[in-house]
């Protein structure tokens, strides 16, 4: 029997990014005992890297904005595959969540009247993103962290969950280890909230931190929960492309929101060339109008650079493929040009985009106030995730909740920028509150000692093979495979090939070994992360094969058009009784008349 330390909590939150912290605060406020498990130190989660802002219809900059416009924008951006009730709740509750953050000490940029300033972003009809320069995520996570540490929450830093524990149908705890010493940890809990973020580390070019290894999705799947819409992986149009070591690092959409333009090697502003019909009415048809929009002219329509991310990413891929890209395989993003329009433009850029200025100066030796940036698409976000109830965020497994990026539903086929930070707040809060209620209504469950023992033995297996292959190399091969075969533009035969490779990588993983001992051993950690990454890569690939149309972030070269029949269902993945992955189509929920009317009115 392996040794382990035992912890008791009413609610266990796995993940300490925006959603996890907000969930923990909400659960604690409901009067239950709360523990957070985080793979990193507190305050380092991927949320810290979010740049643009929090989408919320505060109407501080444009009073025409309200929750209905935000709802309609979100549904249009998601190509109507969104869970409508989630999109409604999100649009209605985001403003209060932003105000709450301010009451806890967050300091947003201000309007001339002293209100929270809001900025333009892709797919949002009006300036809607509450922000702090281009480091909004840091402000958000630090505010939640600093507020949270006084709420009596136990934080288990640098700990990893390797399996959820069940009593019958219900989740009653989790089992994992601490990274520092490698000791096993058993967490008893009456309810568990997954807030583990996304899957970006399955790809080679990604904006995501190392932690994005699909843990929550894999834990939920193995516990019997359903995954939804896994084919929708968002490629952010603007990641750095040079130098190679920074490839994929995010360049915020805020650059385009502040007037940055995209050009090919011939200097042509190619985004005007192809404006989708869904957005024709809302998009400027000349450069002058687009500029006026970014500077707050309310009679102007948005520039095509601020179309949704899926569209902009594909337009960039097209330019590169057709030989019109920049020297290092991207396109040019130019904010320096605004010197033609305003005095002191360099100071303006540094004030509006301080983090981008710093990033390019330090990592690429480029002064963005003087020169254009080279950018290209980077894996950024997964719209799919654990299927949850739109009100409570509970998965199909009782006692298991999910919020933030690891939950599905809000964003449909494509997420609008800024909707992620608001998602974390709105649904983090809901998940925490409902998990607390669940914990109050249920007794503690029984944990199976056998199950725990088996999980521990399995986790230690890589140490039996000190001469086995390095897990880092297997992860690299997976990243290459997903990037090349299940990337921005997809084809049936490529994806079948990907499935074969994933299976082979699974075999290699089972033979992989680690050297050294259990204390802070990154090789071991990677070997364990790999099983989650491989499982979820398979889910992404199977869903992408199944959706034989192009919609939102999912683009099929062999089915370039939209298919109305496919567009009426979500794809659900679960583990079948035979242990194999099953995939099924689930018809979209009927849009209530009230919401249907909003969608029609805002077209």
């Amino acid at each position: 029997m392996p040794e382990y330390q035992v912890h008791e909590h009413d609610v266990l939150v796995i993940g300490a990014g925006g959603a996890g912290l907000r969930a923990a605060i909400a659960a604690s406020a409901a009067g239950v005992s709360v523990g957070i498990v985080t793979k990193s130190l507190l305050g380092k989660a991927h949320t810290v890297m979010a740049e643009g802002g929090i989408a919320a219809a505060l109407a501080n900059v444009d009073e025409r904005d309200n929750w209905k416009v935000h709802f309609a924008d979100t549904m249009r951006g998601g190509q109507y595959l969104n869970e409508p009730r989630m999109a409604q709740i999100h649009a209605q509750e985001a403003p209060d969540c932003v105000r709450e953050l301010e009451a806890w000490g967050a300091v947003f940029d201000r309007t001339a009247q002293g209100k929270i300033l809001q900025r333009n972003f892709g797919g949002h009809k009006y300036p809607r993103l509450a922000h702090v320069g281009d480091r909004t995520g840091l402000e958000m996570i630090r505010t939640l962290q600093d507020y949270g540490i006084h709420q009596g929450i136990d934080v288990h830093m640098e700990c990893v969950v390797i399996t959820l524990l069940k009593d019958g149908d219900r989740v009653v705890g989790a089992f994992g280890y601490d990274r520092e010493r490698g000791r096993f940890q058993l967490y008893h809990a009456r309810a568990v909230v997954l807030a583990t973020g996304g899957i970006g580390r399955a790809y080679k070019i990604t904006s995501n931190s190392w932690e994005y290894t699909a843990d929550g999705l894999a834990l939920a799947y193995r516990a019997g929960a359903e995954l939804k819409d896994m084919e929708f992986v968002q490629f952010h149009p603007t990641g750095m492309v040079w130098p190679p070591s920074v490839r994929g690092i995010l360049v915020t959409e805020g650059v385009r929101g502040e007037g940055g333009t995209l050009k090919n090697k011939d200097g042509r502003r190619f985004m005007f060339d192809d404006i989708p019909p869904l957005y024709k009415n809302q998009t400027a048809d000349n450069a002058e109008e687009g500029w006026r929009y970014t500077q707050g002219d309310r009679s102007a329509r948005r520039p095509p650079e601020l179309l949704t991310r899926d569209h902009v990413a594909r337009a960039i891929v097209r330019e590169v493929r057709e030989g019109r890209g920049s020297p290092h395989g991207g396109v040019f993003l130019d904010i320096a040009w605004i010197r033609e329009k305003m005095p002191h433009s360099a100071e303006h850029i540094k004030r509006k985009l301080p983090s981008m200025y710093h990033q390019f100066k330090q990592l690429a030796d480029i002064d963005i106030t003087k020169e254009p940036m080279e950018v290209g698409p980077t894996t950024h976000y997964v719209m799919g995730g654990v299927r949850v109830h739109p009100e409570t965020q509970m998965s199909t497994v009782p006692g298991l909740f999910a919020a933030g990026e690891c939950a599905a539903g809000l964003h449909g086929a494509n997420r609008l920028g800024g909707n992620s930070l608001s998602d974390l707040l709105v649904f983090g809060k809901r998940a925490g509150a409902h998990a607390a209620a669940f914990a109050q209504e249920h007794q503690a469950g029984q944990v199976s000692a056998e199950e725990v023992g088996a999980a521990a033995r399995q986790a230690l297996e890589p140490f039996d093979r000190p001469s086995g292959e390095s897990p880092f190399l297997i992860q690299r091969d997976l990243q290459e495979t997903m990037q090349d075969l299940v990337g921005i533009v997809r084809r049936e035969e490529d994806m079948h090939r990907a499935l074969e490779v994933i299976e082979q990588l699974g075999e290699r993983r089972r033979r992989a070994g680690v050297v050294g001992n259990r204390e802070y051993n990154p090789g071991w950690h990677t070997a364990l992360d790999l099983s989650n990454l491989l499982l979820i890569s398979e889910a992404i690939t199977r869903a992408a094969i199944e959706r034989k149309e192009s919609r939102g972030a999912h683009f099929r070269d062999d089915y370039p058009g939209r298919d109305d029949a496919s567009g009426k269902s979500n794809l659900i993945i679960r583990q079948g009784p035979d242990g194999k992955m099953q995939i099924a189509r689930k018809p979209l929920p009927e849009l209530p008349a009230e919401l249907k009317q909003i969608v029609e009115e805002m077209k």
Partner: protein, 256 residues
């Protein structure tokens, strides 16, 4: 392609040694890339803490050629490559393993600092108004990524080990961010002087020099806080007037 030698400290709290790793390097590489490359092919169990790789999370702090830096923001072309590049853990914190140190003390310190306490909302809808000018001042402090390099380099902690009596530059920045917050009404001066030990700081500005976010820690946070302590406890003329007038002139002090 050029080759460089990385002299990386390997070991744990029981002891250790520098080991050399030879590596082919490519344009634009940063120290963290090199460490990862070594980890993937030569030393799987080499412990390193990192998250974002873009200078935003402050996880990968270390001492590179003796200078406290973020590994992810230190480009190899800024270092002389004809000699080995040394990479070692921060010295002020207890070692866990290799390049990873135990920074948990910092988290304990923060818990003890009086939290943000807002005034009543300015409007019945529960909102406040602030002007950008006031906000700018503390937004500088909010840039802090908690890399703890300033803590690592501060001689009060590094050489004198006064961890029990002195919170360190990071937390003076934190107290300043709370205290200069336009909405905050808490009083933290007594703690600054006593529990937080601001008097131990003798303004050598080492913290400011190593801050990767270029926060002017000494000038903009520590010195104004020191002035507050002086005004409260050592400015006898002011204390006399305050007693005479019978008012606590905190707001006026803040707005000086």
């Amino acid at each position: 392609m050029a080759t460089a030698t990385f002299r990386i400290w390997r070991g744990d709290s029981g002891g250790g040694e520098f080991r050399d790793y030879s590596l082919e390097i490519s344009p634009g590489m940063v120290v963290l890339d090199a460490v990862h490359e070594i980890q993937a092919k030569q030393a799987q169990d080499l412990a390193v803490r990192w998250n974002c790789k873009v200078g935003k999370c402050g996880s990968c702090s270390a001492e590179i050629n003796g200078m406290p830096k973020l590994m992810c923001m230190t480009r190899l072309n800024q270092l002389p490559l004809d000699a080995p590049i040394t990479v070692q853990p921060m010295r002020t914190f207890p070692l866990v393993k290799d390049l990873v140190t135990d920074v948990s003390w910092n988290y304990e310190v923060k818990k003890k600092i009086k939290p943000f306490k807002p005034r009543k909302p300015d409007f019945p809808d529960g909102t406040w108004r602030m002007v950008q000018e006031d906000v700018d001042r503390i937004q500088e402090f909010h840039k802090c990524i908690e890399c703890f390099l300033c803590q690592n380099v501060c001689h009060v902690l590094r050489d004198h080990r006064l961890h029990q009596q002195f919170v360190g530059p990071r937390f003076f920045v934190y107290v300043a961010s709370l205290d200069m917050h336009p909405m905050d009404i808490e009083d933290r001066v007594e703690e600054l002087k006593n529990a937080e030990g601001i008097g131990f700081c003798n303004i050598t500005k080492c913290c400011t020099k190593v801050c990767p976010e270029e926060i002017r820690i000494t000038d903009n946070a520590i010195i104004p806080l020191k002035e507050r302590v002086v005004d409260r406890y050592f400015d006898f003329l002011r204390i006399g007037f305050s007693r005479l007038l019978g008012r606590k002139d905190r707001r006026a002090l803040r707005n000086r």
